[in-house]
């Protein structure tokens, strides 16, 4: 890369001579066009006459403007802020030079706001490490015209390499966030608006810091989006009612709050916002979701999520430094969130489908189906009490209720799931009522939301149906009873191949299925019936 440096002192000791050419001292007559970038690195000269010095500094601004007007607007123009390296003040209140320096630096900041190719470098970030007598070595200055002590050349070069790295950094544009256990502690659909932990004591306060930090990130031009398996109405209620919610709907440029897989959703968001997938960072507490996105969308950056809420702020700092830090923010950056929101509204949405089978196969899922016993009964009762989202009938049972039904000849199974990311434990249950000698009714079917999205519900029910088929059961009947939370299961039985034989006024649906053949189950589930 060829660089041309505008300077008013010797700075060759700092930048070297490898691919770098220099202007004469304070000379702006030469504006070479065959270079890749320009650096403006002026030093405040030493002059005990502060009035004269202030005037000289004021003249730099016009010189700088003139050069800027002559260079290609697509080529980087890196401007060092001015630092008074060796201030001489004859009276304590002599601020003429300070003001001139501040004026120049303010002006550079404005230029950077209005010219995308102008990058401002805060030189005081380097000089503030040293006192005036270290910064300026008069012996060498008088021999070389180099105001910056040549003995600091190595330190400068190390610092400058870091700054160049930051200048060249390709920043990510969009942060896609999950909601449950990512923006707050808990599961909205299970714990409710009041039950999720946000604000107050630990761990809620950790998520408050995290949300406030993310809000600042969005104000600095990073686009935020949501991709969450949730009911949108629940999330809206949380936004409306939870006083600790720092991040609200208006801070997100795109929302995908639904039960579609996250790969499809992220592709959708990329289309809607019209940003490349390589500009995306995806944050989710669930390792299975992260793995899915990593495998299906390798362009998307997927960092590991901290396991402990108190690690959220260190995680945020790392996120900023690795993906979102740029040297300076322009006014355009700051408006980006609004721009993307507006664009998103204009764009029509397109449905996309991802082939999930290869991903699901890679999870190495194992499902155990276990009849209810004294050990798992408390957990089964608890699930009927707490599970709202994937729950076909939402009938609540106590342990005593379950025991009673077992005595009446019902069969109750629970389901335990493991995959290569770990053991989810008992996370599903089904209650079967013998209605007739050849007919069984599904009284309840539920799955905890943490195992959803992997087709486990299909495999679970399919296995149970095959059990019944093997026993000689001819017919299965089932109901879907709608609630405010279980909308995602409205078509579950239709999808599984049951026949809907009636829809009541309250939208509840009644199904029947003739068990004349085995239900097909994907071969990547390793299923054991105990």
């Amino acid at each position: 890369m060829n660089t041309f440096v505008y300077r008013n002192q010797t700075v060759e000791t700092l930048f070297g001579d490898d691919g770098i050419a220099y202007s004469g001292y304070g000379d702006i007559s030469l504006v070479p066009q065959d270079v890749d970038r320009y650096i403006w690195c002026y030093q405040v000269p030493v002059n005990a006459d502060s009035t004269q010095l202030a005037q000289e500094i004021a003249s730099y601004r016009d010189k700088l403007e003139l050069v800027l007007s002559k260079i290609d607007a697509h080529k980087p123009f890196i401007i060092f802020s001015l630092v008074n390296l060796f201030p001489i003040k004859l009276t304590g209140d002599d601020v003429a030079v300070d003001h001139a320096v501040m004026d120049f630096n303010r002006h550079v900041a404005q230029l950077a706001d209005h010219h995308p190719n102008v990058k401002r470098v805060d030189f005081s970030d380097f000089t503030s490490r040293y006192d005036a007598y270290t910064l300026v070595n008069w012996k060498y200055f008088l021999m070389s015209q180099s105001l910056i002590n040549p003995k600091l050349a190595r330190d400068f070069q190390a610092w400058w390499r870091r700054i160049e790295g930051e200048l060249a950094l390709k920043r990510k544009k969009c942060l896609v966030l999950d909601l449950d256990n990512t923006l707050w502690d808990g599961v909205l659909g299970e714990d409710g608006v009041d039950g999720i932990k946000l604000g107050g004591d630990y761990p809620g306060n950790a998520f408050s810091y995290w949300q406030r930090a993310l809000l600042q990130l969005s104000r600095n031009g990073v686009i935020l989006a949501i991709c969450s398996k949730n009911n949108e109405a629940d999330v809206q209620e949380a936004w409306d009612c939870n006083p600790f919610m720092e991040l609200k709907r208006e801070h997100f440029s795109a929302l995908r709050i639904n039960w579609t897989d996250k790969v499809t959703n992220i592709r959708d968001i990329a289309d809607e916002l019209n940003i490349g997938l390589d500009s995306f960072v995806f944050i989710d507490d669930n390792p299975a979701e992260r793995e899915l996105v990593k495998q299906m969308l390798p362009q998307v950056t997927v960092p590991d999520f901290p396991e402990k809420p108190y690690m959220l702020m260190p995680f945020f700092k790392e996120l900023v430094e690795r993906y979102f830090r740029i040297y300076a923010v322009t006014a355009e950056d700051r408006n980006k969130t609004q721009q993307y929101q507006a664009n998103a509204m204009r764009r029509a949405q397109q449905a996309r489908f991802a082939d999930l089978d290869s991903y699901l196969r890679s999870l190495l899922m194992e499902i155990d189906i276990i009849p209810a016993d004294d050990f798992n009964m408390p957990r089964i009762a608890q699930m009927t009490q707490k599970t709202n989202q994937f729950n076909l009938t939402t009938r609540r049972y106590t342990e005593a209720d379950i025991r009673q039904r077992l005595n009446d000849g019902w069969r109750v199974y629970c389901m335990s799931v493991r995959d290569r990311f770990g053991d989810s434990g008992v996370t599903g249950a089904i209650f079967l009522e013998q209605i007739d000698w050849d007919t069984v009714g599904i009284d309840s079917l539920l799955l905890s939301c943490r195992v959803l999205g992997k087709g486990i519900e299909d495999a679970f029910l399919g296995t149970v149906l095959n059990l019944l088929h093997d026993e000689g059961v001819q017919k299965v009947v089932a109901d879907y009873l709608p609630t405010a939370k279980n909308g995602q299961t409205a078509d579950f039985y239709d999808r599984i191949g049951m026949e809907c034989i009636g829809i009541a006024d309250d939208s509840s649906k009644h199904y029947v299925m003739t068990l004349d053949k085995e239900t097909e189950i994907k071969d990547y589930y390793k299923i054991k019936v105990l």
Binding site: T10, E12, T13, K139, Y140, L142, M143, S146, P150, A153
Partner: protein, 75 residues
């Protein structure tokens, strides 16, 4: 490492040249320009913990003068 070798090492790094002989001088070495001359002087000051005056720095125009200047300072 003796003094000559130390000086050689500093010249190698300041001038960016691998092969340096003892007859190197400001005249026969293109990369020994005025700025690298000062860089070299400042490195020598740090390496040997000495102070070189501007007039002395100006005299150090070839390898043997550099070595004898440092020797005189170290006495």
């Amino acid at each position: 490492m003796n003094l000559e070798d130390q000086v050689m090492e500093i010249m190698r790094s300041v001038f960016g040249i691998e092969e340096i002989s003892t007859d190197i001088s400001q005249k026969n070495c293109e990369r020994w320009d005025s700025l690298r001359h000062l860089t070299m002087a400042s490195e020598l000051e740090d390496a040997f913990d000495i102070e070189l005056e501007p007039e002395e720095i100006a005299e150090m125009t070839d390898f043997s003068r550099v070595v004898s200047m440092i020797n005189s300072k170290l006495k």
